[in-house]
Symmetry: C3
Subunit: 350 residues, 3 copies
């Protein structure tokens, strides 16, 4: 019997099953600095203890996406080691702020299963929850992946497909952001004069800049997140594979694009929720990532007059500037330069 | 109206104008570790809390050049986004020590303007000041850059050219170094038996070693410093540009050369001032940086018997060892291997 | 007289000589994060303050190999700058836990000297000891290197060859691990259900995964460790040398392989001792490292019922998966894919 982890196959999952993932991880100022070096964020709240304190945080919180990547990374060995494809995300909410020194753990519950008609694979739906050392939930999200069966002759389980929200409602947003004292918000230091109310639904923003991805960078990112998906690390096997190259973790592209959005959304300091997203095409080292955003909705958050929410579509491309907002064509097909199409709620000061 | 930052053009600057830059940045032990990993410094004062305490610091201070890069990085979006060239630096003084946990902000004042005779560009002079969370100034320096005009028909402003010091006087040095108790200075641990008095004016030192720059390294450095200059990050556009490659931030070359100087100047633990410097030629990933130093002057600091100052010229080359001290030829032209020619004051224990 | 360090030549060493090495180094959460990003370890004890506290540590200790690399790095300028070859290690013991904030220093004593018959080189044996800021020894090990003579006509010293242990006895193990309260050990969080007693002598484990090394990664690693060996950093000279490329620090390969061992030895959270090891072949950027382990011995530690020791042989290969356990052939020659053959004691909960 092997002592190595073969990962779970489709038949190993059952609806209601709870997976407690290894490895708990204390996030530190070191991780924050690496995240900074990998993406170059400039949001003042996460960058400066002084700025964060001036508006009501105890100190600068850890970047929301760093929290996401750490919580997500833990699920890989149990959920997606034998995955054929990542199919989607939904209902990702940021529930409490994370500060350096907090220890994050992840638990997943299987919330759906549906074997594919080919009898070789099935779709596994999980809800994963990240908690801190005090048991406080900091993040949860649903994810569904296509997983191989170990044995094609195993009978299919009863199909259970969870109902997942197309997008989260405004009253589900903002739990990870304390009530802010906006008298301490300084637009010169935050880098943008544009508050929540300055963005109009339908507005499109070209984030102008581009960033080229390097192998060492995306590998270091994944290792920081303890994300062990083999495709990101092993040129010896990937070189013989479908793409001939290591695949960049989709989350690395999200974080790269997120950093670019500072130029145009400089006050959108917090990710309140990720409604869903598609990794439209793979990214590789050497690709230069550009991004543009579209304001899909603008909503006040019930009970809060400090921050408002923008529902934003974030589109990232490779080797294609976004001045022309590359998008789906009339035939509904994605522009071939598009690598990411994300739908999220961002918070800005009012 | 765009919400992205178009940067300032020459006509946007006025003498006396004050620019409060985004983003304040708390420097942490994480940043210090990344700086270590990027350059490999071995100066004991910055490397060891125990060594630093033994001589009178409260703990190991943050490397002077890391402070410089963080303070400098903030100015890029406002000062040099539309710059054609970085023309020079002067009068850069380190004014107070920075420790992990301090938050750095930068303000610049326009101290000079001079349109070029071609009517297309002009020179902007700024004095930038970095302060910590208590409002204490930690660094200031003058810099001048050539910036494009938005509209060539705009009339030229009255030319104001500030008088800048060719080099700082000894009594302007040392504010960032507390009075040291040299009974705690251990030459074995610091790595060099050579104190301030052991260096002679005119002495030249070949720093022997060479370091090859990688794309991932200089990109991570710039992102750590929140330096957003496009030329460092975007292979998609730079590949079509003048050099066909991403340009390495000049400050990355300075820090690389500074780390090399440990071998020969191991006790020169603090940069007191940068008198001026030229990035003689561009550097790219794959270049191997070597360096040599020349002692230009040696001066006691009025009122201090703990440390003395050496005015040092630091020359860095690429793909050329420095045993022969590559320098200007008889025609006054730089040796083609030279990439950096810097003039600074370093402090050593007496 | 030069102020740069020419390194020691064979004639510069004398048995009994003590070398106090520069530079003391405070290890921080930043270094821990970089180590994480460079190797991707998933051992819960080092990753999580909460997990570490639950079993009796004051907080998460620094990874043993990070301690080793920092202690080792300091010896390079004094011991191996003029080394022709690293010949071996023996008797490496981890003696006390290291936590972020501790400052590490290294002292070496020359314990043996033997000139080679060619009269050009000799073998230098040193015992190096790493201590923390309180003078507590955290690590010691013997190492022997072949060093060039400065002058071949210098007479050979009396040969002294120290007797070094082939491997450490069980009662020499475990000093760096406090007595653990295993009621707090959670196998789900640690990532493996396999405790000390579950491993059988003779058992072999293929660690399955592979990791490709990048230039930026191994350079950043060496600089983090202040390891200044020229061969790792200088493509300009190495490009003209024997391999045409920069050589990867052998310790980087050890740490890469160690991280791979998590898959199969997930509860082997501590390195108690390194009995010996050979860097069988050089590694370069672009190589993909795989690893397998063999259980050589399994021993209780006298006086302890919390942890047990496994003596493990760790073999790493490049560009060769380890399902077939690539090893020496019948002729005693190493498989050409093998780069590392290490013998160490690992600790696991009982």
């Amino acid at each position: 019997m092997t002592k190595t982890n073969p990962g779970n196959f489709f038949e190993d999952f059952a609806v209601g099953q709870v997976l407690r993932h290894a490895t708990p991880r204390t996030v530190t100022a070191g991780d924050v600095a690496l995240y900074q070096a990998l993406y170059g964020n400039r949001f003042a709240v996460q960058s400066s203890d002084a700025f964060a304190r001036a508006i009501g945080y105890e100190r600068a919180p850890v970047d929301d996406l760093l929290v996401f990547h750490v919580v997500f990374g833990k699920t890989v060995p149990d959920v997606s080691l034998n995955a054929v494809a990542n199919l989607g995300y939904a209902g990702c909410r940021f529930l409490a702020p994370v500060f350096p020194g907090d220890t994050l753990s992840t638990v997943s519950e299987v919330i759906g299963l549906k074997e594919n008609s080919n009898g070789k694979t099935g779709v596994v739906y999980v809800r994963s929850t990240g908690t801190n050392q005090n048991g406080v939930e900091v993040l949860d999200y649903a994810r569904w992946v296509m997983v191989r069966k170990r044995d094609e002759s195993t009978p299919a389980p009863t199909a259970v497909v969870p109902v997942l929200p197309a997008h989260l409602p405004p009253d589900a947003l903002g739990a990870a952001v304390p009530r802010l004292d906006l008298s301490g918000w300084d637009d010169a230091l935050s880098g943008s004069p544009h508050r929540w109310g300055d963005y109009a639904v339908g507005e499109r923003i070209d984030h102008v800049d581009g960033t080229t991805i390097e192998e060492a960078e995306h590998q270091m990112a994944c290792r920081l997140y303890q994300n062990t998906a083999k495709v990101h690390f092993n040129q010896h096997t990937e070189g013989k594979g479908r793409f001939g190259r290591r695949l960049v973790y989709g989350g690395h592209v999200i974080s790269t694009a997120r950093a670019l959005t500072f130029n145009g959304l400089g006050n959108a300091f917090a990710v309140a929720a990720i409604n869903g997203g598609r990794h439209v095409a793979p990214s590789f080292a050497g690709d230069t990532i550009y991004a543009w955003s579209e304001i899909l909705d603008s909503r006040a958050i019930p009970g809060r007059d400090d921050v408002g929410a923008l529902r934003v579509r974030l589109v990232a491309t490779k080797d294609q500037p976004c001045a022309a907002f590359p998008d789906k064509g009339d035939d509904g097909r994605d522009d071939p330069a598009v690598v990411l199409d994300l739908d999220w709620w961002l918070l800005l000061p009012r």
